[in-house]
Symmetry: C2
Subunit: 346 residues, 2 copies
Amino acid sequence: MRATYLFGAGDIRVMDAPDPMIVEPTDAIVRVTRACICGSDLHPYHSQPAGTEGKTIGHELIGVVEEIGAEVVTVRPGDFVISPFVFSDGTCPFCREGLQTSCEHGGFWNSARLGTGGAQAEAARIPLADGTLVKVPGTVDESLYAGLLTLSDVYGTGWHAALRAGVTTGDTVAVIGDGAVGLLAVLSAKQLGAEQIILMGRHRVRTDLGCEFGATDVVAERGEEGIARVMDLTGGQGVPRVLEAVGHLPAYEQAVGIVRPGGVIARVGVPQYDQAELGWPVFGKNATITGGPAPVRAYIEQLLPAVLDGTVKPGRVFDRELGLEDIPAGYAAMNDRTALKVMIRP
Amino acid sequence: MRATYLFGAGDIRVMDAPDPMIVEPTDAIVRVTRACICGSDLHPYHSQPAGTEGKTIGHELIGVVEEIGAEVVTVRPGDFVISPFVFSDGTCPFCREGLQTSCEHGGFWNSARLGTGGAQAEAARIPLADGTLVKVPGTVDESLYAGLLTLSDVYGTGWHAALRAGVTTGDTVAVIGDGAVGLLAVLSAKQLGAEQIILMGRHRVRTDLGCEFGATDVVAERGEEGIARVMDLTGGQGVPRVLEAVGHLPAYEQAVGIVRPGGVIARVGVPQYDQAELGWPVFGKNATITGGPAPVRAYIEQLLPAVLDGTVKPGRVFDRELGLEDIPAGYAAMNDRTALKVMIRP
């Protein structure tokens, strides 16, 4: 098959690769219908040292089950499935609590331990298929692909931010970041009943989509100026629920600056820092810092019906579709921000 | 009157001072029955630069109202009162939400803005008396003084840690720190129904009291060794509710090391650091960091009855009582850990 490999910063290639095979009786092989490029793929795309061996990449897919291991019971060949960005057994204490990202036996894509490749490929081996894959009922029209694909990561991640922040009816919410996750955090906050949704971002095309998703205010300013704008918009008190969907330090600092005393900062952007402010500016306000990698597996069944019936359209975050061979152009477009999120058609 | 002043690190003196007077019509003057020394008083005691002018100190007291301003209606001269370690108006949005530490008009003791002195004195001016003071009903026997005095700070602070961490029936909890706040966090966790309470501390006399308050396990080890012990005690999963009652960086790092995926770290020790770990070790586990200065005013009415009827005895954290003139000896004893908490009798 053909699959994507990252050889170093900026050096992404589509190459011949061995077809994935059933290794464990709990595996499934899924033929990829659509994959995509994630904002978090850009981190190694920026920083991976040049090496002799390429690394597989990609962690979002929808597709059709091609083959299953002897112990797999919840999906069968021919089923159309969504695969979350984390594998999980569905039975350990953490999975039962809905924290599949901490599954005792699961793990991430492109894992040496699990022996998995990446999702930006023609097919993929899915370990722990029963705990991981979610079957989409009925016939799946191509027009639904984009929406379903967001359930593998970005929609569930935006939803996680809003849930962890405790967004509820009538709330004031700020979303930091106008990437796909930030925009879907806006959508999620709106679905959970938020009344005022302040979107902090400065890419007009993206924030316009954010407004369609439910943002009531857009703040393009950053730093002290951005904080001052948000304080103005909240009667000087700050924002009770801040969803941080970037992962860079200035975004966190922005969150600390605007959070209301007693409020919550929910982080879902993978932090690109180790140390950050946790002294009086956080403590003095009794602010809460929460969030982490989203257990999207826990949310798919809940979010799926409204995607299938078109009530919500999270797939609008995809603004470009490319063939697998064009992946290098897709990375370049996301990197220079001419594309918001790129869908890949193997 | 006589009052306590800190002139620099280790230089604490009891001196003549002007009697406090009503300045605002919302003030009350309280004659101090008992004050005490707080672990947080040791921070300036360690670090305050030597200066020509002394600074007042102390923020915990019980006493008798001597005089009230024209607008004060909830307390009268002769009332026995508890004063929390923060002044608050009781009417602003934050006070109404039970976050009096963020009161829009309140503030801390020894405040230039509020024009207040410290509580380690014969008398004190209490601004915003209606929002701040809590009247103790009935005749107050001297045997109750210690318990009532803990309601001005350390008991409410331990309670805040347990509440913010979400401690509930059957929970496993770890308390980091065997100072007065840590021990009362143990007591609070026990009251809230925790089943396993792991106390991390290495002062035997203190951890023994912690066991009487409800600790089921004591871990004296620190760092990696301490983390390993706690993991052993929790079946390798870590602790879902960690109450951090120290404020130094190693205590926070301990908390990060032992918190269970999806768990909560509630900090009530004033952080003596600005930056701390907020990268993958926190994010990857979906851990929550919460806490801050405790709005003890919100908890006094709830905690008072069991103190008055002797059901709980938080006053046991006081292991020494000294006259006001002996304050320097009290600071020295707390500093070299020969005393757990010193009560002051003006």
